[in-house]
């Protein structure tokens, strides 16, 4: 067994900080950005987690997983019918924008009507590589 991470050892001089009386090398986010934690880090990751950190957005994703190409009207109807979510259309639109910015859904135009679909790419390219070491382990 060996230490997986030894901040004080690997930290370049001048980057150490004192947090709650303990000397740590760098803020975790900085280390992630620098790729020092051994986990493949994609800068999109935090945006994906923020987008997922909301119950309504999780339900929207689930509804789109069941059926792609849904209009705003249809989604509002399904959310109300299935989960009694009665947010305004503007409220649902904001959630959809957040999901789209995170790459979790995509939108296209079917004629003059905008339709939304679940997009699995970000799960396989961003989320999965980050989660994998946690359940498979990568310690020597």
């Amino acid at each position: 067994m060996k230490l997986y991470l030894s901040p004080t050892k690997y930290a370049p001089s001048g980057t150490a900080r004192v947090i709650h009386g303990t000397r740590v090398a760098l803020h975790a986010t900085e280390m992630l950005h620098k790729g020092w934690m051994g986990i493949p880090f994609d800068p999109k990751l935090s945006r994906v987690f923020r987008a997922l950190g909301d119950e309504t957005r999780l339900l929207i994703l689930d509804e789109l997983r069941k059926r792609n190409d849904q209009t705003l009207f249809e989604l509002c109807g399904r959310l109300f019918e299935e989960y009694a979510i009665s947010l305004s259309r503007q409220g649902i639109t904001r959630h959809l924008n957040t999901l789209e910015r995170a790459g979790l859904i995509s939108t296209t135009w079917k004629g003059r009507t905008k339709v939304h679909s679940f997009s699995a790419d970000v799960l396989t390219t961003t989320l999965h590589p980050w989660l994998k070491p946690f359940y498979e382990g990568d310690r020597a």
Binding site: G77, T113, K114
Partner: protein
């Protein structure tokens, strides 16, 4: 007071007449020339003395903006009721009518949404017991 006519803005009255009669099966109630446009109404053959659907020109810019915004979000501008939504949807699809939403349960009804080709989405409703 009673309801008499319900307006639906259309981008072309002749095209609308064709769609609402030959695809949807409504019948002409009034077709009166009014200069550039017509006073054009249709009724359901199941309810010939019922409320008339007025197919009126969308010439006003605000009308076009309104139609465009509703259409973008998939919101229907009016609704028709049917006895059996599944068979009605299959029938209309066989005539080339395009749906933006298949039949979905919503409250005490099943509803589907189609494109009237004249700038509107229309909701089909089957009320459930």
């Amino acid at each position: 007071m009673k309801m008499y006519a319900k307006g639906v803005a259309v981008d072309d009255q002749s095209k609308a007449l064709e769609f609402y009669t030959s695809k949807l099966g409504f019948i002409v109630k009034h077709d009166i020339p009014l200069g550039e446009y017509r006073w054009l109404t249709v009724v359901s053959p199941e309810e010939p003395d019922g409320v008339e659907l007025l197919l009126e020109p969308n010439a006003h810019p605000a009308s076009q903006a309104y139609q465009k915004a509703l259409m973008a979000d998939g919101i229907p501008c009016t609704a028709f009721s049917v006895e059996n939504i599944e068979s009605e949807v299959a029938h209309l699809q066989s005539l080339g009518v395009s749906f933006t939403q298949p039949p979905v349960k919503a409250g005490g009804a099943m509803m589907a949404v189609f494109d009237d080709t004249c700038g509107n989405l229309v909701q089909l409703v089957q009320l459930l017991e």
